[in-house]
């Protein structure tokens, strides 16, 4: 007979339950610390007015219900007239296209008198429309994507090429080049930003170009190390056999090695992508043309642009971060494997 865990003595189960709930408490506490700032920004981004969520001697307004929902112009008119509905084909200068409707009263009626009522507040989409309309966030998004993907592509190519001879070929100067490469890891990139900046401005005219954001970071010594490690784990016999069959070194690299090091390439790609996507100082130095902004530079700009209007800034942050969170959730395994791979390597 198979003993099921439920048949264990009660005291054991009680003890385990107690222990597990202790761990869950700690995990939830940490989860709250991680998640609360995001939720807070999320709450700010849908507020109709700037009155604070926390109030002295009154319950906090933390439960949202639909209020002024809509898209387009005419929000202010809607507030006065109780609604706004102008199609794009009937729009005039005074009455531009937009649709706004207040769902608030419907829900207020339902909530009235319930214990939940003092905790609720109406939600609006106005802040999102405003930031979407005034700041070209999709454009910044596309810029960031182009720059990051280009950086990934170049890093993968240059690192996977350079790591191969360092791992598998015996040639003159290998040790020298390898120690040269090692030494570069010691220098902080910030040391280089000053001469790089001078070079970028005076020699290459990198300002307001995408290649100016990518080229200085198109390879990475760390990436070469990472891939070298993986090449080394491939048996030499495989290469010898291919050479006897008359394959060229490039052919061996392209057809045999590249498919074999794919997990390492994925790790490198993720590390480079996240670094490049989040890069701030270099793009800040290079970009002054608003159309060329990457997302972090655009966000920093947005903050100055709407300085007083925190709700709109919050909406901008949400638009910028949610896709990245979704992207992470979709590729969670690869992200985490990538990082732990970096430790083991």
């Amino acid at each position: 007979m198979i003993r099921r865990p439920t048949s264990k003595p009660l005291s054991f189960r009680a003890k385990r339950w107690l222990e597990n709930s202790g761990w869950y408490t700690v995990m939830i506490a940490f989860a709250l610390i991680t998640a609360l700032p995001f939720f807070w920004a999320g709450l700010m981004s849908v507020r109709e007015n700037s009155a604070s969520i926390f109030r002295k001697n009154k319950p906090p307004q933390i439960v949202p219900y639909p209020g002024w929902i809509g898209w387009g112009e005419g929000y202010k008119i809607a507030l006065k007239e109780g609604g706004y509905d102008v199609d794009s084909n009937e729009a005039t200068k005074d009455r531009p296209a937009g649709h706004w409707e207040n769902y608030g009263p419907r829900y207020e009626k339902k909530l009235q008198g319930t214990w939940l009522e003092p905790y609720t507040f109406p939600v609006t989409t106005q802040n999102y429309y405003k930031v979407w309309n005034d700041i070209n966030i999709p454009r910044y998004f596309a810029n960031s994507l182009v720059v990051s993907l280009a950086a990934v592509f170049l890093n993968v190519i240059t690192c996977s090429l350079a790591a191969y001879p360092l791992a598998k070929l015996h040639f003159r100067g290998r040790n020298l080049l390898f120690s040269l490469l090692l030494s570069t890891l010691v220098f902080p990139p910030q040391l280089l930003f000053i001469p790089l900046y001078v070079m970028a401005v005076k020699v290459f005219a990198f300002e307001n170009t995408f290649h100016g954001l990518v080229l200085p970071f198109a390879t990475s010594a760390l990436g070469i190390f990472l891939l070298r490690q993986i090449y080394q784990s491939i048996p030499d016999e495989l290469l010898e056999a291919a050479r006897l069959d008359g394959a060229s070194e490039f052919g061996i690299w392209r057809r045999i090695l590249l498919p074999l090091i794919r997990p390492g390439v994925a790790t490198l790609a993720i590390i480079v992508f996240v670094d490049s996507w989040n890069a701030f100082l270099w793009p800040l130095l290079m970009l002054s043309d608003r159309d060329m902004f990457t997302l972090p530079v655009g966000l920093a700009f947005l903050r100055g642009f709407f300085s007083g209007d925190l709700r709109t800034v919050a909406a901008g942050i949400m638009i910028a971060t949610i896709p990245m969170i979704l992207f992470f959730l979709a590729f969670q395994k690869q992200f985490i494997r990538g990082l732990s791979g970096a430790v083991k390597g």
Binding site: Y24, L169, P188, I194, M199, F328, V343
Partner: protein, 313 residues
């Protein structure tokens, strides 16, 4: 016999003198072709700038006129620049995020290493801040720290714990600790994943043996987990302290690009940024970069020695 040995010796000396066999030559050429793209970029954007920054540090340069040699003047000025020394002190205060990060992220890794139901959800959640840019995080924390209605001040006031708001970003004494808290919050998930990988590499038998010997959970962690994790701890200590010394984005965003009231958030990195790219004192900033790099390297070496030395006993 004698002749054949001689010929072998001759042959090998000839090769040592530079005569490569055709195959050897071809292999070397192939190797350099593979290395060329990466090294072209490294030479252009790393080795040349490295030489340049040292050169600039001996000049007076504002990018308008050509660099003008001043010898050690920048370094002499640096010695008497109070703000530089204060900023250096702040950079080292900033380093105290490292031990906090290590302890917290090991604890977190131990917790999420347990085979609990739904533990993957928590792991993912803790990791999310890593993929968000420091700029967005800085802006979110502007709301968190805001007064009087930010998350923390609002909550504390709601609970009746405070009457006057805490000036997280406007009191010079609180600016740096507040920004450091953001750095810790942001890095926790990142290092947690590293420690998790380290934990999963520890053989289960070690714990079983210790349990048989009567060691409790805490003793097990102290005598098995920590020593086994030592290589990862060393690695994390080095990279997290280097990134703490280089922290910039959070400081820039949370102080509105100003460095904070009375320069209270000015670390050496921020000072370097200001001198170089705000004031265009390229020569002076280069001397800051050189000195700071040397200090960082010495610090990393000591750090490595201490951590690895302790592992020996």
């Amino acid at each position: 016999m004698v002749t054949s040995t001689e010929s072998v010796t001759q042959n090998s000396t000839a090769r040592r003198r530079g005569g490569m066999s055709a195959m050897e030559r071809r292999r070397t050429i192939t190797a350099y072709v593979f290395l060329a793209p990466a090294f072209a970029i490294l030479i252009l954007f790393l080795f040349i700038p490295l030489v340049q920054v040292v050169y600039y540090s001996f000049t007076d340069y504002d990018m308008l006129r050509s660099p003008h040699w001043v010898g050690l003047e920048n370094y002499q000025n640096l010695m008497h620049d109070d703000l530089f020394w204060t900023s250096l002190k702040r950079s080292f205060i900033y380093l105290s995020v490292t031990p906090v990060l290590i302890v917290l992220s090991i604890a977190l890794a131990i917790i999420v290493n347990r085979p609990l139901r739904g533990v993957n959800v928590f792991r993912a959640l803790y990791y999310i801040p890593v993929v968000i840019s420091a700029v967005a995080i800085g802006m979110i924390f502007n709301f968190v720290f805001a007064e009087p209605a930010g998350l923390i001040n609002g909550l504390l006031r709601q609970l009746g714990l405070i009457d006057t708001p805490i000036h997280f970003l406007t009191d010079p004494d609180y600016v740096l600790p507040s920004i450091m808290a953001v750095t810790i919050w942001r890095g926790l998930g990142y290092y947690m994943v590293m420690f998790l990988a380290g934990l999963q590499a520890i053989p289960e038998e070690l714990y079983e043996a210790a349990a048989i010997d009567g060691a409790n959970k805490l003793q097990q962690h102290l005598h098995i987990t920590v020593p086994q994790l030592r290589p990862v701890i060393t690695f994390v200590a080095v990279i997290s302290s280097i990134s703490a010394l280089r922290a910039f984005d959070e400081i820039f965003i949370l102080t509105d690009g100003s460095g904070g009231l009375l320069d209270s958030g000015v670390t050496t990195m921020f000072y370097l940024y200001r001198q170089a790219f705000r004031f265009l004192n390229i020569g002076y900033a280069a001397s800051i970069a050189v000195v700071f790099t040397i200090i960082t390297m010495i610090f990393s070496l000591i750090n490595l020695r201490l951590l690895e030395g302790r592992a020996d006993d």
